[in-house]
């Protein structure tokens, strides 16, 4: 049975991941990397909690940031209220309070939202999300208005085993511990009667009713529990950034968590973790390189929806199946052969996007094409056709090559899949 939570292989996997998470900052000492890792940990918990609804219960929520944001605000206010009277231990436990705030919000809001599933649920969550976001700007005393609420996670003079959580690397350790505890708890939940019935309600609510389950109750409980974990993630974010703004509970944050879960793969428990790593890295690394990163992210999301709707996790699962069937070797040369034209295509597209972006938003304003502008590290005359034609030509070559080699990859892929499924039958 692979359903044991602490089977030997699973224990090894959990342990390995925990060891890796703690080892990373020893190797990668840059503050940038550690901040990045902190953000990944927080987003992993947040998107896993989101997938409790979308992947496991079949509930598409457009307002999940509400639980995250309320958890963050509750944590921040309590942190400030405790102030000098606290210590590192109380600070370390504060995300639990964030979780309770998320849970309470889940009880209140879930009571309204879970009456219906499907489109109705999605619409109600959208409405409630907007309502809470609007309220956050109406009550600046609680939500801090535009500036948000800030605090200091280092309180008191004592240390906890030498930790004050002040340095980012210590905060990272705290995030790892919370993220692991939450991940294990959320995984364990999938292996309980409620977790399984959530799957049943997702697959066929009518049937679930006719085997004795109140589907509203199942959805309600899942929203409450999911709200708890989202609240913990929010609490961690409050401690990590030491500031909570109204943006943490608005529609943008709700949208990001949806994209993360989807890109990672909602059909798999660990999918959202992959999504959190990928999207956070993209956001920070590509976001640091170009202002147009949201455009790239949008294109990437579009690509995933069209090519791999099961998310990255589904791609990994297929590759593993191929590997176990001894067929991966057959595909690898084709993957490698396809990489080159795709890179050419990407280079061309990036060139076009950056040129266009520079032309429209350049320092000198629209139409400043006569002076040399720095694009992709090169000084280019945007007013001359040269750079544009080059980028267009590279894109064109990329498209032709990708279609040609990609077509061969596809036919080989289909043949390999046929062999794979033929073996199974």
């Amino acid at each position: 049975m692979n359903s044991a939570i602490f089977s030997r292989s699973r224990l090894a996997l959990w342990g390995g991941c925990l060891a890796l998470a703690f080892a990373l900052p020893l190797v990668l000492k840059s503050g940038f990397i550690i901040s990045l890792l902190c953000q990944i940990g927080i987003m992993a918990v947040f998107s896993l909690s989101y997938n409790m609804l979308l992947g496991q219960t079949g509930l598409l929520s457009f307002g999940h940031a509400v639980y995250y944001g309320l958890g963050a605000f509750a944590t921040m206010h309590l942190l400030n209220a405790i102030g000098k009277g606290g210590g590192p231990l109380t600070t370390a436990l504060l995300p639990f309070v964030g979780g309770l705030a998320g849970l309470a919000a889940g009880i209140v809001l879930g009571y309204v939202t879970t009456r219906k599933a499907g489109t109705t649920f999605a619409m109600i969550t959208l409405g409630i999300g907007e309502m809470v976001a609007a309220c956050s700007l109406m009550f600046p005393g609680i939500f801090g208005g535009e500036g948000g609420v800030s605090g200091n996670r280092v309180v008191g003079k004592e240390t906890l085993l030498g930790f004050t959580w002040g340095p980012q690397v210590e905060m990272y350790g705290l995030i790892v511990l919370w993220a692991f505890a939450c991940t294990i708890a959320m995984f364990a939940l999938t292996q309980t009667p409620l977790g399984r019935m959530a799957n049943a309600v997702r697959d066929n609510p009518e049937r679930a009713e006719f085997v004795g389950y109140d589907t509203e109750r199942v959805r309600f409980l899942m929203v409450i529990l999911s709200g708890f974990f989202a609240g913990v993630a929010g609490g961690l974010s409050a401690l990590n950034y030491e500031i909570v703004t109204a943006e943490t509970l608005n529609a943008h944050t709700s949208g990001v968590v949806l994209l993360i879960a989807f890109v990672g793969g909602i059909g798999f428990f660990y999918g959202p973790i992959i999504g959190a790593i990928l999207v956070t890295v993209m956001q920070i690394v590509i976001g640091g390189m170009t202002h147009a990163w949201l455009l790239y992210f949008g294109l990437f999301f579009l690509f995933m929806v069209l090519v791999a709707p099961g998310g990255i996790a589904s791609l990994i699962v297929v590759q593993r199946a191929l590997w176990q069937a001894g067929l991966l070797g057959r595909m690898l040369p084709h993957y490698a052969a396809t990489a080159l034209p795709v890179l050419i295509l990407l280079a061309g597209l990036v060139g076009l996007i950056e040129l266009g972006y520079a032309l429209l938003t350049g320092d000198a304003g629209v139409g400043a094409g006569d002076t040399a502008t720095k694009v992709l590290g090169m000084q280019l005359q945007l007013g001359t056709p040269g750079p544009w034609l080059t980028a267009l030509a590279v894109t064109g070559i990329g498209i032709v090559l990708t279609r040609w080699i990609g077509g061969r990859l596809r036919s080989e892929w289909n043949a390999t899949l046929a062999t794979l499924h033929g073996d199974k039958a």
Binding site: S3, I5, T192, G195, N199, D203, V218
Partner: protein, 256 residues
């Protein structure tokens, strides 16, 4: 016991202006196998939907084992020991055969909405699901997702989910619809086996199945029951023959 398993009195159902069930009075005895037959559009499936609370009734009463169950929700009726199958296969498509059956037994074993118990540790749920899986002959398909089973296997699973909770009143809606002759024979044997000692009500078009399985038969025509009797008496009933004009109640595979 004299309290019938199901008692319907003056049951009516309108969809807008059209009356679909026009006053049904029917007692289903405990432990009997009762078939409901009738021409297409007579309201047989609607009658099932009313009894199982999938649709609200317009007027009349429904008693389950002597208890008024009008206005209850489907899951509440299920918890009172009535379980049903569907004409169009209604299973958990992404879950394995075993998980389908385990979901079907969880409530009756009292695990409710527990999120502090491990499924793998629930021995009684596993044993019961495995027993049903053996009963319906799907043990070798244990880990196959229900959505990719063959049609006949899905129908067997549908029956399995229906009986797994141990409900003592079973409603089967066209359990053999769309099956080949061999599959139908197997399905009949299966139904006979798994409803032993229980009350069975079924809607069925296949007269071979009906006359082979049923202790009593009710004939529903245009929302009213025109006869309820033992199979032999139904065969000779003039009103029934009238309703089935031009079709034979004697043929083994009658789909009018």
């Amino acid at each position: 016991m004299n309290v019938p398993a199901i008692r319907l009195q003056g049951l009516k159902k309108n969809f807008g202006a059209s009356e679909i069930i026009r006053g049904v009075d029917l007692d289903i005895h405990r432990g009997e196998r009762h078939a409901i037959i009738g021409p297409n559009g007579a309201g047989k499936s609607t009658l099932f939907h009313l009894i199982s609370a999938r649709l609200p009734i317009t007027s009349g009463t429904i008693e389950l084992k002597g208890e008024d169950v009008v206005g209850l929700k489907p899951f509440e009726i299920n918890r009172k020991g009535l379980s049903r199958s569907f004409q169009i296969t209604n299973i958990f498509h992404n879950l394995s055969v075993f998980e389908n059956l385990r979901c079907a037994v969880l409530w009756s074993l009292g695990y409710r909405y527990s999120f502090w118990r491990r499924l793998a540790g629930l021995k009684d749920a596993r044993l019961r699901a495995e027993a049903v899986m053996e009963d319906i002959g799907l043990t070798k398909r244990r880990d196959t997702p229900a959505g990719i089973l063959s049609y006949a296997e899905q129908r067997a699973l549908e029956i399995g989910i229906t009986i797994a909770s141990g409900a003592d009143v079973i409603l089967l809606d066209e359990p053999t619809a769309g099956m080949s002759n061999t599959e139908t024979e197997e399905a009949v044997a299966l139904i006979r086996r798994v409803t032993e000692g229980k009350t069975l009500v079924m809607v069925e078009h296949d007269m071979g199945v009906v006359f082979g399985l049923a202790d009593r038969i009710s004939v529903l025509v245009y929302g009213q029951i025109i006869a309820t009797d033992a199979p032999a008496a139904i065969r000779c009933n003039a009103a029934v023959q009238e309703a089935y004009l031009g079709t034979s109640l004697h043929s083994g595979n009658d789909h009018e």
